[in-house]
């Protein structure tokens, strides 16, 4: 069992590595771990400050501090990439009857989800959504429907990952960063929050650091192109195909995707923003030559 001092927190704390499958160096080079520590540290520092309305922090009198962290388990992805880390943080205050905060954390970092909407050029109201259908062993399912999830590639700036690859193969569609609208960012524009949380959706903030930026990608296409895609993608999944691309009528999205947090989140933000008819959305719609307000 290795122990090291983590000076991302003030005062520095002991990190005990209880698994033989990761080293201090690997952990410190892993973005989700350092981001989590820095975000938490910044939030803890706010305890002794006044907020943007001049109010004292609720934990002003007996602020919490991180005392120690135990790294319990890790999972490595292929090509030497650290995937997940399970840790427990001990977080306590100095009240006469010391209080602790629940500190079990499943660390995996952020990702992105795409609400990919295809609109036939001959219709103002018709919309189709690109979905993925794949095994999700944690859910015990071999056929779990979601809006596409993945990453934004550091180099190409495109939507990337297994879903993106399959979508490109099946439909030819490529989603560049420049054509994406971050719906959470748009929703939160103008609001002020003191803590440095991401402009993203947190699926399970009680136990997991994961945050998912929900992007909108709307594209107007020839009806025939959409029909061709639909024809290719409906019906029985190809034998052995790990991830299947589906095209779904937008009207059915909130029901068919009701098991997927990303789908419901994307639908909410899209619907609410459209109805709010915010100036930002109006400006964006002009920029992308798509009337997203319809």
């Amino acid at each position: 069992m290795a122990t090291f001092k983590l000076d991302l927190f003030d005062p520095p704390i002991d990190v005990r590595i209880l698994t033989e499958h990761v080293t201090e160096e690997q952990l410190m080079n892993w973005n989700p771990f350092t981001t989590w520590a820095k975000t938490l540290k910044a939030s803890l520092e706010l305890q002794t400050q006044l907020d943007h309305t001049g109010e004292k922090h609720p934990f002003h009198e007996f602020p919490y501090t991180v005392r120690s962290v135990d790294i319990q388990a890790v999972d490595w992805f292929g090509r030497g990439k650290l995937g997940f880390v399970k840790l427990t943080a001990k977080i306590q205050n100095e009240a006469p009857n010391p209080q602790t905060l629940p500190g079990a954390v499943f660390l995996r970092g952020g990702s992105v989800a795409m609400l990919m909407i295809l609109r036939p050029s001959d219709s103002n109201s018709e919309r189709w959504v690109v979905m993925t259908d794949q095994p999700r062993i944690p859910a015990g399912s071999l056929r779990f429907w979601e809006i596409p999830a993945g990453m934004i590639d550091d180099d190409t700036n495109d939507f990337s990952g297994t879903a993106a690859k399959e979508i490109k193969e099946e439909t030819g569609l490529v989603v560049p960063r420049s054509e994406l609208i971050n719906l959470t960012e748009l929703a939160l524009a103008g609001t002020q929050v003191d803590e440095g949380l991401e402009d993203a959706m947190y699926p399970s903030p009680g136990g997991c650091d994961e945050f998912i930026a929900i992007f909108l990608w709307e594209k107007v296409m020839d009806r025939q192109e959409i029909e061709n895609m639909k024809g290719k993608l409906t019906g029985i999944r190809k034998q052995g195909e790990r991830i299947t691309v589906r095209i779904l009528n937008y009207e059915d999205l909130w029901k068919v995707g009701a098991r997927d947090a990303k789908t419901l989140a994307a639908w909410s933000l899209y619907e609410a923003l459209k109805r709010a008819k915010t100036p930002q959305l109006r400006a964006l719609s002009v920029r992308f030559l798509v009337d997203v307000l319809i």
């Binding site: 803890l44 943080a89 905060l101 062993i137 944690p138 994961e210 190809k238 299947t244 997927d260 909410s268």
Partner: protein
């Protein structure tokens, strides 16, 4: 650290120190997950049109990596499941196992408005530390459990303490089940009718419940006043009241809040609610 075979299967399971075979097999999250998985894996053989029929996947091994206890009770487990087929292909099997919880959409409305009015509806939200997200004031839809006939947990306790509002199970509408049909056309998998926050890495599923209540306008004003007043020093969890139409905005970072807004809106507009 011992290894055993899951009864009636060929699945080998490796435990960690401090966890016995009996404790694992009794852990509700594990029981539910493995039952669901085994059932859905068996469809591969029984359904000739199943996409994996030719080379079906099977569960070979489970490694328990870590457990977190709340007192004597197991709260979370981190496991790795080896799911592979005869072609040597693997399905991602890293799982944060924690079981189900519920999201509670509490909608309050002054009772002097007409019965079908959609005006002046308010939603209760919680504000509390969420260390995993790195924040001390994370805004969410109230979360908890529904057992022993009521909504329970930290949020439920806070709602009862602050407002005297108890939420009995028989005054709940399961929005997830209203939206997700019981036996879907062409689909024969077993899957809970609930929202899965992160199905790629976690077993957690969260049915979204609705508790809609019409209360005297005066009471709503009292509660609003109470919740915007001075926070008690050091109180870990607090509540806030927001307009229903702003739920998506006030809860924009919370999967449960966005899911609740979506389901309520979708079900209302389609006449199912």
């Amino acid at each position: 650290m011992s290894t055993f075979t899951l009864p009636d299967t060929d699945v080998s399971i490796k435990l960690v120190d401090g966890l016995t075979k009996e404790q694992l097999l009794e852990f509700p999250a594990f029981k539910n997950w493995i039952k669901t998985l085994q059932s859905n894996l068996s469809l591969q053989a029984s359904d000739p049109s199943h996409e994996f029929h030719k080379s079906p996947y099977s569960l070979k091994h489970i490694q328990i990596q870590a457990i977190d206890r709340f007192g004597p009770r197991i709260g979370f487990m981190k496991i790795h499941a080896t799911v592979t087929n005869s072609e040597g292909e693997f399905l991602p099997g890293a799982i944060f196992l924690r079981g189900a919880s519920v999201g509670m959409l509490v909608v309050l409305q002054p009772d002097d408005l007409p019965e079908n009015s959609q005006e002046e509806k308010y939603v209760l939200l919680t504000v509390q530390p969420r260390i995993a997200a790195g924040g001390l004031q994370f805004v969410e839809l109230p979360a908890g459990m529904v057992d022993k006939g009521t909504f329970n947990g930290t949020a439920a306790r806070e709602i009862e303490e602050e407002l005297g509002l108890k939420i009995p199970a028989d005054e709940l509408i399961n929005l997830s089940e209203l939206a997700i049909p019981a036996r879907e056309e062409g689909k024969t998998e077993i899957c809970p009718r609930a929202m899965f926050p992160s199905a790629g890495g976690c077993d957690e599923f969260v049915p979204i419940f609705l508790h809609e209540k019409r209360i005297p306008r005066k009471q709503l004003a009292e509660w609003t006043g109470k919740l915007t007043g001075l926070r008690e020093e050091g109180e870990k969890i607090t509540l806030k009241l927001v307009r229903l139409e702003d739920l998506w905005l006030e809860g924009a970072r919370d999967a449960k809040a966005l899911a609740a807004w979506a389901l309520y809106d979708g079900l209302k507009r389609s006449g199912k609610l």
